[in-house]
């Protein structure tokens, strides 16, 4: 028995000639929040649709809480809460009726249903909209209703396809806090192309492009893999000729030292290393020996966005 709540191997899905998902493995354990990243059309939604049993993979197997999704789909689906892309719902129903319909279909009895409805109203702040038809709600509230229907049966697994898409910054912040709050005892998969979201809530980032899995690691480890992108940047107003340039490079014991002309009177020295982070103090001390006029100095840590761009553009160029 595996403690992985989601365990998918060799997933493949094509639509006619187009390969949407190409041999993807994915496993998620309880307590993990996996950020599913990729450009538009990368195969994120298709993968999620397969994990929830909406689409059948052409190849590969999916186990949900050790239950084979193909051979026992009804049992496996009981463990999953799913927010499809765009948070579809029956717009003519009022919020309470819609959530209670989903709750009943999820097998909740009257008692537990009324408890869960109350919890949802409080936890997801839906109280004021409780008796309003869904079609009259704002985008933010519609999204909350979508989250509430996914959570109504308190599932072990939560699969959210772009849960913060179209929300304003405050609503995004709220949604992320909610995901963090509920993440302790669930396995959560969130697809997004907003990288700050992954940094804010995810314990693991999975990057896919053109249907292929390109990276699967914690945000921290991904950053470590791209150490050479961490850069010390020093802006100087002195003139740098070839001689000084050579001196700088010989003084700084790092793998990569670049000197760029920023404008007529300033140059920028960029220092990075494949093995370690360049130290700002050390670099400044060395530069001072050359009596250069430093006007700006900082350490730039690689962003997940840069990692994402590097990984996905490498894949495209291949």
């Amino acid at each position: 028995m595996s403690d992985k709540l989601i365990n998918a191997t060799n997933l493949k899905k094509s639509f006619d000639q187009f390969i949407a998902v190409d041999d993807i493995d994915l496993s998620v354990s309880r307590g993990e929040v996996v950020g599913f990243l990729g450009p538009n059309g990368a195969g994120k939604s298709t993968t999620m649709k397969m994990l929830t049993g909406f689409l059948e993979p052409d190849n590969g197997e999916i186990f949900i809480n050790n239950i084979n999704l193909k051979s026992d789909p009804l049992k496996a689906k009981e463990y999953i809460g799913y927010l499809p892309e765009g948070a579809p719902s029956y717009s003519d129903m009022i919020v309470e009726d819609f959530l209670s319909f989903i709750g009943k279909m999820r097998g909740l009895n009257n008692n537990s249903l009324s408890n869960r409805l109350e919890e949802m109203a409080n936890q997801i702040n839906l109280k004021e909209m409780w008796n309003r038809p869904i079609e009259t709600l704002s985008k933010g509230f519609k999204r909350r209703v979508g989250i509430a229907q996914a959570l109504i049966h308190d599932p072990d697994i939560l699969i959210l396809d772009e849960p913060t898409d179209g929300l304003d910054p405050n609503q995004k912040h709220e949604m992320r806090n909610l995901i963090k709050r509920i993440s302790t005892n669930k396995a959560i998969v969130i697809s997004t192309h907003i990288l700050e979201e992954v940094e804010a809530v995810c314990s693991r980032a999975v990057i896919i492009a053109n249907g292929k899995l390109l990276a699967n690691d914690t945000p921290k480890n991904l950053e470590n893999k791209f150490l050479n992108k961490n850069t010390v940047s020093i802006k100087v107003s002195s003139k740098i000729n070839n001689v000084i340039s050579k001196e700088i490079k010989s003084l700084l014991k790092y793998d990569d030292v670049k000197i760029q002309k920023t404008d007529i009177s300033t140059h920028t020295i960029l220092v990075s290393d494949n093995q370690k982070n360049p130290n700002l103090n050390t670099v400044l001390k060395q530069i001072n020996k050359l009596k250069l006029d430093v006007i700006e100095a900082n350490f730039q840590k690689v962003s997940l966005e840069e990692i994402f761009r590097t990984i996905t553009s490498d894949n495209n160029s291949k």
């Binding site: 649709k49 799913y82 499809p84 719902s89 029956y90 003519d92 319909f101 279909m105 999820r106 097998g107």
Partner: protein
């Protein structure tokens, strides 16, 4: 089994209430009542016929259903696919058969409500004369059964498209073909070049031939089997279509 039926009932309940959440139900019921009585009194010449029966009422039902059943059933699957809610439904722990049957039953029960609302005409004819109530009851049942076949056909075809108007048109055309199959005009055209059994088969597929026997008070097993198997066949194809077309 209990759980299986329970989920089907929850789907049915939501769908049936759905008709009444919008003005659709009241508009439909009004149109149905207006058209059915209009056809009975003006086209069917109910009073001029001077007979205590409801032939003038029931004989227009196939034509009425040809337009009204697609109007009820066109949204069943087309709307789910258009709005994306099909993704919610299919990822619930429920089979496609439960979904299809639950939705179909809701529309069929809605039609039953519409038929029950025409009961005053039954009362009227009893007030005016002494009709054969046995025939009328059988005709009501037959009419409801035929409506079921129209609805199953519409439900099945509405899974083919995301557009309700297209679902309406293809359902009406298919229904028209199934009615016309019993017409002498069609049958004699076929009879001239084909063996007898083909003509017989085409005639036996006709809603009209089965329903006209019912109207005469003849309710044989073949008619019951015809309509029920038509419903089951359409719903079975409906389940397959939902499976194939869900992600298009």
């Amino acid at each position: 089994m209990n759980n299986y039926l329970n989920k089907t009932y929850i789907i049915l309940d939501r769908e049936l209430k759905g008709y009444f959440r919008t003005p659709l139900a009241s508009i439909f019921l009004l149109v149905f009542l207006a058209l059915s009585s209009g056809m009975t009194f003006f086209l069917g010449r109910f009073f001029e016929r001077d007979q205590a029966d409801l032939t003038a009422f029931f004989s227009w039902h196939p034509w009425l259903f040809l337009v009204l059943m697609p109007a009820i059933g066109m949204r069943l699957w087309a709307e789910e696919r258009r709005s994306g809610t099909i993704e919610l439904l299919i990822t619930l722990p429920v089979t496609n058969t439960q979904l299809v049957v639950g939705k179909f039953l809701a529309s069929w029960i809605f039609t039953l409500i519409a038929l029950i609302l025409t009961m005053p005409i039954w009362i009227t004819v009893n007030y005016l004369g002494e009709p054969d109530n046995h025939v009328i009851l059988i005709s009501y049942f037959g009419s409801w059964l035929m409506a079921g076949a129209f609805l199953a056909l519409t439900s099945c075809l509405s899974a083919l498209t995301k557009n309700q108007v297209i679902a309406f048109i293809i359902s009406s055309i298919s229904g028209f073909v199934l009615i016309m199959a019993g017409f002498n005009l069609v049958l004699s055209a076929v009879r001239s070049w084909s063996p007898n059994w083909i003509t017989e088969t085409i005639s036996s597929m006709s809603f009209l031939s089965h329903f006209s026997r019912i109207q005469m008070g003849v309710f044989d097993l073949s008619t019951l089997v015809f309509f029920i198997s038509m419903i089951i066949l359409c719903l079975w194809i409906n389940v397959q279509l939902v499976q194939v077309k869900k992600a298009d």
